[in-house]
Every structure is written in C-alpha cells, then in structure tokens.
C-alpha cells in the first residue's frame, strides 16, 4: 500500500511491545481501539521503570537527593507538557488523574467561585449533544446542585454541531461553555473559533475537552483562545492515572480550590488555611508522580515524531478507511463521511447486526474495536441507534490493518447473513 503522508510504521511499531501480541490460534493483534486508550511505547515504559528504580521519592517537601530528583522529574514533566500545548506559563498546567477529573475540577470550581464566575440559579451552562459522559454528567450535577440551567447544541444529520441557533443558546446568562474539540464517537472536529467568539462576546468562560485532540494533532492552547483545556495521558501514549487541566493563570488565581490536602496549602492551622499558588493549589495529596514522568516521556516521544506528521498519517489512513468502509454493503457511517474536519475515530453500524456481535466476531479474528455507546449515549439516542462499532487509528496503525478490518466486516456479514 503506498499512500502519501504515512509514517514509517514499521519502525514505530517496534517501539510498542504489545503490538507483537498474538491472539486466538495465531491471529496477530490488530489494535483499532485507540480512542479508548492508546498503547505505550518502550520509551514511556522505560521512563516509568527508571523513575521507580532510581529516583522514587515523594516530591516537593524533601531535601534529600531522591526527593530532589523526583521533584525535578515531576516538575520537568510539567515543563514538557506546557511546551507541548504551547502554554504561556508552566504554572498553568495542573496534573489530575484523568480528563474526567479535569472536567469535574472546573465544574466544581465554578460552583464554589465568587462573582463574576459563580454558577448559580440565575445562570446557564452550555455543552453539546456530542459530549463524552465525562463532559455531561459533571454539568448535570452542577446544574442540580446550583439550579443553573443546562443547555446544549444539537447535532446535524451528518454529525456536525448545529450552531444555527448559537445566539439563543449562548446568552448573557451563560457562565461557561464546555465542548469537545474532537468527538470520540463521531470523529467530528468542531469549529472552535465560532463558539469561542460568541462565548467571549457574552463574557462566558470556555472549557475545551481535548481528550481526542491532544493525542493526534498539534495543540496550541493560546491559538484555541479557550480558558481551560482538558486532556488525558492514557490516550496519548502516556500511562493511565494522569490527566491534565490547562487554565489561564488569572483564573487559576481567582478561582477556589477543589480538593483539599497536602501539597495544595500554604499554611494550615486548625482554624483556617491558606492555599499555595497554582498549579499546586489544585494538586491535593501526593500527585501521580511516576505517571507525570511517563506523560513527559510520552510528549517527548510524540514531539520527536512530530504532531503534524502524526496528524497527516492519520488523515491519510482515515481517508483510506472511509473509502474501504463505504464499499461494504449495509455499512452506515455515523458521523462525517469524509475525512475533512474529522479525527481518526470512525463509528458505524452494519445492517441490523448488533455492534456487540460485530465486535465479537472481529475479536475472534484478532481485530480489537470498541462497541457500545462509547460514553456518548446521547449521540446514539440522537441517531436512533442502540450502539455503534468504532474503529480508531493512531500513529502505528497501517493500511494493512484497515484492510483487515474491511475483510473482517465482510466475514461478520456472512456470519450473521
């Protein structure tokens, strides 16, 4: 297969030990579940191992050698992540346990905040119908707890955000607009500028869920012009147990803390406490130290290859996959049908064969896809389907794997035919 813009996957795949797995009676693993979580390169695993074997200590509060080394590694990872997303300041990068915590952190801060940020019964929250549950439920909870009204943008038939009524949805009452940059179920890449401009006009804050963007394309928080950006380590070659919230410095200074505890304080007495400056203010307790170090190694790895090259690789692959899938009888793409403004996650239905059955029969051929509502059940409701099958690609995915998927789907059709 000779497609333009592809990476040297033969070399890259050598970095990922799990890709050598052989399943069921000799089937080679075809891992197409990258939107759920990515695999980890040797470089990240080595960084974890080295951290634990040589430098492990608790951070910040120690003056012995290991504590200083661990602190330098942990804070060094913050520098790397800050550079990776072009943050104006390293102090704007907060380490969390995953994107879900990052999103909940913002929702909770706004519930406890003073004016002008405070979300209460006189205000409104705006999200979209294509959010991951992790960007829906925190706002439903906030709405229940504060009385604020929750509003959302719907989805068009071709899987794009319906922004036609933007001026009615985002209003002077809106305090926060939170939306996904790239949908994990539809693959849609959303038009940031339009939404941010309207939010700025009414003075609302903007939170962007970049969980499916950060792994796949160059992310520039300054260019996005958002107030907060959330993403998660495990989807971008990093370990589980680490997420990021980037936030504008003035906001992090003005907003109240979320979790209380060690590390996030300045001084504590039984009667009252004062808080450390951001990012520490938002990092209560022993942080995910090794995981941050692994995340640093992951962004080094991705940057070494180049985010633009990774994006180009996936774009080519997605185009090819859409082309192959469209040829399968009965297959219906749920989401944009062209590779334009979309990511490398492709959801589809196959006749009336239930996605569970599709996934099971694909698995038997070594092909790992995800089936279900992908933590975005409102999208399934919107399209009147119970679930989808989703194939999602990453920098190590190959055209041969796309072919295996297409062949596998033919086999599924025959099996249940």
């Amino acid at each position: 297969m000779n497609l333009p813009g592809l990476l040297d996957t033969e070399a890259i795949r050598k970095d990922f030990p799990v890709l050598d797995r052989v399943l069921h009676e000799g089937k080679k693993l075809v891992y197409l579940d990258n939107a759920a979580t990515s695999q980890k390169p040797r470089q990240v695993l080595d960084a974890l191992q080295q951290y634990y074997e040589l430098h492990n200590a608790n951070v910040h509060r120690g003056i012995h050698v290991l504590a200083e080394e661990a602190t330098a590694l942990y804070e060094g990872a913050r520098d790397k992540v800050a550079a990776f997303v072009n943050a104006p300041s390293r102090d704007e990068v907060i380490f969390t346990k995953n994107a879900s915590e990052s999103l909940n952190l913002v929702a909770n801060m706004l519930g406890w905040a003073d004016e002008p940020y405070r979300v209460d019964e006189r205000t409104e929250i705006v999200i979209t119908e294509m959010e991951h549950h992790s960007n829906i439920v925190p706002w439903q909870l906030l709405s229940q707890r504060t009385g604020a009204k929750l509003k959302w943008f719907g989805i068009t038939d071709d899987g794009r955000l319906d922004l036609s009524r933007i001026d009615e949805i985002i209003t002077e009452k809106t305090k926060i607009v939170s939306f996904v940059l790239v949908s994990n179920i539809l693959g849609t890449h959303n038009p940031v500028e339009t939404i941010v401009r309207r939010a700025q006009d009414v003075g609302a804050l903007v939170l962007i869920d970049a969980s499916q963007a950060a792994p796949h394309m160059a992310l520039d928080v300054q260019a996005l012009q958002a107030d907060f950006v959330a993403f998660t380590g495990h989807k971008m070659c990093g370990p589980t147990g680490i997420g990021v919230l980037w936030g504008r410095q003035e906001l992090l200074e003005d907003l109240p803390p979320f979790l209380g505890g060690g590390e996030m304080i300045e001084t504590v007495s039984m009667h009252s406490s004062t808080y450390a400056p951001a990012p520490h203010k938002f990092e209560a307790g022993t942080p995910p130290i090794a995981q941050a170090v692994g995340m640093g190694a992951a962004v080094d790895y991705l940057s070494g290859i180049g985010m633009d090259r990774i994006a180009a690789h996936e774009q080519t692959l997605t185009e090819y996959a859409l082309h192959r899938l469209r040829d399968i009888p009965g297959l219906r793409i749920v989401g944009p049908e062209t590779a334009e403004d979309r990511g490398a996650a492709i959801s589809f239905t196959l006749g009336d064969i239930h996605p569970h059955d599709v996934g099971q029969v694909l698995d038997e051929q070594g092909i790992a896809v995800r089936v279900g509502h992908h933590c975005a059940r409102p999208v399934c409701l919107r399209f009147g389907i119970p679930a989808t099958t989703r194939a999602s690609f990453y920098l190590y995915s190959t055209p041969a794997e796309v072919d295996a998927l297409a062949d596998g789907l033919e086999y599924v059709r025959n099996f249940f035919g």
């Binding site: 239930h354 279900g372 399934c380 679930a387 099996f415």
Partner: protein
C-alpha cells in the same frame, strides 16, 4: 469459523435471535426496565401471573444476539410454568452463566434448561454474560414486583 465462536453462537442461539418467541409488550402485572450499562443493552419486560403460574412474559428491547436470544428462550421456557419451577430454571441458568465455562451441562441440567443450555459457551466471555442475563434478571425483578415483594424500581430514562 473458529471453534470458540462456534461455541458462543450456537445455531439454537442464532435461531432464537432471528425468530424471537413472544416478543412485544402485552398486558402484565408488573413492568421493569433494565439496562446493561457496559454496553447499553436495554429491555422492558412485563410479567403476568395467574395465581402461582407464569401466564405471560412479554418484552421489548434492543441488544445483541445473545441478549435477544436469551429473552426469547426465557419466554419459551418460563411461560406456563409454576413459579417454584420457573425460579429453579432461572437459578440454574444463572449458575451456568456464572460458571466461566467450567460447568459441562449434564442430562438433568439439559432437561431443565432445554434450549438455554446452548448459552454454556457464552459463560466463557465475561462481557457477554451480562447480555445473556439481562432478561433473566429483569424477569426476577418483575416477578418480585408482581408478587408485591418489592424489587428494584423501574429506572428513570
């Protein structure tokens, strides 16, 4: 087809999937709505009792071949049975499904479970066990409600 797939998708199961028994909602004494949060499979199920006998089990839902076939088998097996016998069947099916493939159904079990023994192969797939059990758990729940002995409330959508 591999041996393993074969053991899950027995012909009996595929037949029930394609030609489900007793599908559709009819009158009943209690209705429940159960969801498999792992995969979004859903079932609405009604039980109608006639004294100590299962008069009807009607259902509607969406789900994979396993959950659909299992509801069909349930209808076939339980309708017309006395409650104690229906419960025995339900409990035996539960035991089989939780066996992780370690129970080889014997004659007595086959006699009791009939078509439902075909699900033995599914018990090796932890993620699918829940699909197979969805309607059975719903039945248990609805029956308890119909008898006024409590059980789970219908879930808000």
């Amino acid at each position: 087809m591999t041996m393993k797939l074969d053991s899950m998708y027995q012909d009996v199961i595929l037949d029930h999937y394609k030609n489900p028994h007793g599908r559709g909602l009819r009158d009943g004494d209690a209705e429940v709505h159960h969801v498999n949060p792992t995969c979004g499979d859903e079932i609405t199920l009604r039980v109608s009792l006639d004294g100590g006998t299962v008069r009807d089990v009607s259902y509607e839902g969406q789900g994979c071949s396993i959950s659909q076939a299992s509801a069909s088998v349930l209808n076939e097996l339980l309708v017309g049975k006395e409650l104690p016998q229906a419960r025995r069947i339900q409990e035996t099916f539960l035991e089989l499904m939780q066996s992780k493939g370690r129970i080889e159904p014997d004659d007595a079990m086959e006699e009791l479970l009939q078509d439902a023994v075909a699900f033995a192969g599914v018990s090796k797939y932890p993620a699918r066990v829940k699909c197979a059990l969805l309607s059975w758990m719903a039945w248990k729940d609805a029956t308890a409600q119909a008898l006024g002995t409590g059980g789970k409330e219908p879930h808000p959508a």
